[in-house]
Symmetry: C2
Subunit: 389 residues, 2 copies
């Protein structure tokens, strides 16, 4: 077993939502966290803090700050130079998305999204009283791609904001330069603020790469709010720490006018120290994890091809998420998610939550051990075989 | 040495703001956290989480939730029955104060405060573009007391909200029933929402008691937002977890309309588990701490009486904060805070930050060991003696 894989007995004792929401006989493959531990440097940073009982108000300085660690990592990994003075630490990325919607649009305005998409994008638009301007991704036979013409018509007169998820959840696309530039050009033409959620940037497979929206030229970068965190790549979502980076002083000023700094709360000392350690020293661990994830990704694709070819699936270019279109299976029950939960005792993400057109889909989280993934696929297999029997 | 007191060498290594903001030869007695560790049950809860590397999305249930732990503690300690369904967990209490100001008033409206007061009360009013309606507390010769007539005239036509800090920071008053009822009556007359910050409720000395605003009868309670956390009593401010309790469904609905749930971010797993452990099992530790704090409180009062009788000081009824009016000393320099920082190498809170009238004051945090407190007082003594020499 790889050193970062936790035994299933340990996982069953976890007190997080992933292993608790469903009954004990269900294997959870839904919410986007991995069944792994964390990098040693992250654990050491946490243990050091805990041993000192150093739980006072944060006073992190210089390289200990998330701002510096984020800027350093983006520079090193992606050749992007975020400005630390335009970074706002936050507790949570959904908070950041909602805050940008409130700051850069008014009730009744349109917010452009590509669907399917991470459900809180849609929920935040609704909650803020804005209107969804939906531009579905297109299946080109090999993967989901940006519909540039569709984007141009979705971004109408009432559009103020464009929400982008790249690498894309749930499709696993790592968008290419041409796609990002096309998005950027529409944003410039229509004077939209771009909110680019790049939280999966650390999870890109060989042959693909992550391109930050902040590297698409000044005209595009200056209107971009980039949202990121170490929570996906380094498996620390419960520690609640992330960043918002504003592409220009003007953008940051507009945000601050609408959303006072103190309203956002911000991360605690454990989240800060864990995040800094992850960004500075976590990559060797992540390299090992990516080997496991790549094998899992390929195993899911092979399973679909061999055992369930009626499922439409394109292997993801990034993320540990597999988007499975089960429409052709004509499964009984209210949704494929419910079918696999009831019949396979596997909890997947319900595609309908990801926007219109996702109803026949499920999202399978393969960020787990080979053994658990095999069990998940076997159970799904059994349910499908019983169905056709 | 008491078991909860940390050696000064350990404190000097702390990475929080208290021990880091000033030079190494300065003794910090400013920001409101204690130079102690935390209760054993709190530390055990954190260590257990850390050993499991259980850093996924929080899935706390039943008694593990902050809502239940808060309701249980308020019932047990103060005979108050908060409704867990009307509790909103938050990362930070300043966040909560600002959120209530935004939710229950409009730009240009008045927000009533009693001064001197915790500086973020004033800063939040300013930041939100509201107007301060200041009602200074009165010195009755024995303590600072509520000016009921002043309150009635401060709460004019444009007033929408009344911010209360009880037990009061920086005076250390634990307000009495008559004072709270007077505040409540004005709020009812003027149709004000009451925001009651009760974060120091665990730190009340013998002879006094904490009365939650939520126990002042339904008419008052139903218009009260209570803000609280385990961070002061149990010394975990860097873990960032607190609660807002809304006194009625109507109040909660109004808040939710203005401030979407997801905008607030909320606490992480370490903050949640530490807070729950503190509220459920931390009291024996706190009982020991209160013995130390009481001795320190009395030591500060005796020092003023014997060594610096020109300082006006009333021993606090709660909190580990001593409010020292140095006006009669006619200290040189820009402020008493700067005088003691430069001449005594002691960092105190600057009274001017607590609102008009506080300029001649300093706030001394005596939440430390007897030894460090002696050193603080000796240094202050020396500075004053050199001055008169």
């Amino acid at each position: 077993m790889e050193p970062f894989v936790l035994p299933i007995e340990t996982l069953r004792r976890r007190r997080g939502i992933k292993w608790r929401r469903y009954a004990d006989d269900v294997l959870p493959a839904w919410v986007a966290e991995m069944d792994f531990g964390v990098p040693d440097p992250v654990q050491r940073a946490i243990v050091e803090l805990v041993e000192q009982q150093d739980y006072g108000y944060a006073g992190r300085e210089g390289a200990e700050c998330v701002e510096a660690a984020f800027a350093g990592r983006m520079r090193e990994r992606f050749g992007w130079e975020p400005d630390p003075s335009r970074i706002q630490p936050v507790a949570d990325l959904v908070q950041a998305i909602l805050a940008t919607i409130l700051a850069f649009s008014q009730p009744g305005d349109d917010v452009v999204v590509q669907t399917p998409v991470y459900p809180p994008f849609l929920g935040s638009i609704d909650e803020a009283g804005r209107r969804r301007a939906v531009n579905p991704l297109l299946d080109d036979g090999a993967r989901l791609v940006l519909d540039v013409d569709g984007l141009r018509s979705a971004a109408g007169d009432r559009a103020r904001l464009l929400l982008l998820c790249n690498p894309h959840n749930p499709s696993g696309r790592a968008l290419e330069r041409e796609e990002l530039l096309a998005i950027g050009r529409v944003a410039v033409e229509r004077d939209l603020v771009i909110v680019s959620d790049e939280i999966h940037c650390d999870l890109v497979y060989p042959g693909h790469r992550h391109l930050p929206m902040g590297t698409m030229g000044e005209e595009i970068a200056s209107r971009t709010v980039t949202i990121n965190s170490a929570t996906k790549g380094f498996n620390i979502p419960g520690l609640r720490c992330g960043v918002m980076h504003f592409g220009s002083d003007e953008l940051l000023d507009r945000f601050r006018q609408a959303v006072p700094d103190r309203l956002l709360g911000g991360p605690g000392v454990v989240g800060i120290d864990a995040t800094v350690a992850a960004w500075r020293w976590g990559q060797p661990w992540l390299d090992d994890v990516m080997v496991r994830l790549l094998a899992n990704r390929d195993r899911v694709a092979a399973w679909v091809a061999e055992q369930a070819p009626a499922i439409r699936h394109h292997a993801p270019e990034a993320t540990y998420l597999a988007w499975l279109d089960c429409g052709a299976l004509r499964l009984p029950g209210a949704s494929p998610q419910e079918f696999f939960l009831e019949e396979a005792r596997v909890a997947l993400g319900a595609g309908g939550d990801f926007g219109p057109g996702g109803e026949a889909c499920v999202r399978l989280n393969f960020g787990t051990s080979a053994r658990i993934l095999e069990e998940i696929l076997e159970r799904m297999d059994g349910a499908l075989r019983r169905l056709s029997a």
